[in-house]
């Protein structure tokens, strides 16, 4: 079966598709959260070094992963919008930013709550923590820059330049624990060595990460629908849809 992917690059056809997909992602999110939290809080054993405090990991690591991943996706969409002038890509970039900022804040927040009992401090200005804080400022900068420019197309372009320049920060965050001597521990999962934690801990964390992924899909698809409605409000298809809704 041949699917015309370009068809869904237009807001007219993406709007209903996003509306159909979002509830499924929301449902899967709830199921995965239930499984992940059960495994993480009832099945996974107590850590021999950190006691129960390590369970913060089940929200901290997925949130931190999402904060970086969403930024890369956002920058890619923004870049596509900048190069090809496609409306939907720019809208996707705009819709991703608040969720990315939320996960960045959560990574910092849960990190502080984990740092206090383990390191004895809420915050240190080391490479990992500082670069993650810069990521939060990049998200906030992207959002406020777009909000400050009235013309949506100019706002998209200005935001895209900021997002692309800021993308250099993501590998810095990721490799900061290798490049510099940081208080933060190394990567939880790396490609070149066996995982250093118990299997149930690892599974619980991966399921939580998947849940956060699905959450992001569900939420961003709904937000991009709002974005589409706002930016396309003068188009014929939006008017027809409103007319149909009113009967």
């Amino acid at each position: 079966m041949a699917i015309n992917w370009f068809k869904y690059a237009s807001p007219v056809s993406f709007y209903p598709l996003a509306g159909r997909l979002s509830p499924w992602f929301a449902g899967v999110t709830l199921v995965l959260l239930a499984i992940g939290l059960y495994l993480g809080f009832f099945v996974a054993p107590t850590d021999y070094q950190q006691g129960e405090a390590y369970r913060i990991m089940f929200v901290h690591v997925p949130a931190a992963w999402m904060s970086m991943f969403i930024y890369l996706v956002m920058a890619t969409y923004a870049g596509l919008g900048l190069i090809f002038n496609t409306r939907l890509s720019s809208m996707m970039a705009t819709a991703l930013a608040p969720t990315g900022a939320m996960f960045t804040f959560l990574a910092l927040w849960t990190g502080a709550l984990w740092g206090k009992p383990m390191w004895g401090t809420w915050w240190v200005w080391d490479a990992r923590l500082t670069s993650e804080l810069i990521l939060l400022f990049l998200y906030l900068g992207f959002m406020s820059l777009q909000a400050a420019i009235d013309d949506p197309r100019r706002a998209s372009r200005a935001g895209a330049v900021l997002a692309l320049v800021g993308a250099v920060n993501v590998p810095i965050i990721y490799f900061s624990v290798k490049w510099w001597n940081t208080l933060h521990q190394g990567a939880s999962i790396s490609f070149d060595k066996a995982p250093s934690m118990a299997a149930t801990m690892l599974v619980a964390m991966l399921i939580m990460a998947l849940a956060f992924w699905c959450y992001t899909f569900a939420v961003v698809l709904q937000r991009v629908r709002c974005e589409i409605l706002e930016r396309e409000s003068h188009s014929d298809w939006v008017n027809t849809m409103i007319q149909e809704q009113q009967g």
Binding site: V59, M102, L106, T110, L113, W114, V219, C226, L229
Partner: protein, 73 residues
Amino acid sequence: MQEFFAMGGYGLYVWGSVGVTALLMIIEPLLIVRRRQIVLRRLSRRHQRRQSRNQRRQQELSETDAVKVEHEA
């Protein structure tokens, strides 16, 4: 049960993390639902305004037509 919530003395840290995460992941979807309602309400008000304006215009047109017909008659 109490032991579970105490988290071996780390309860404040663990539940402070999980709680704020849960709170934000509940608030964010609610904010989007509200935004959608606001957008839809604004669009449907605009649609109604347009419709009533069109109706008025049509009425005025048909009235002037009626006057014309009287004059010609």
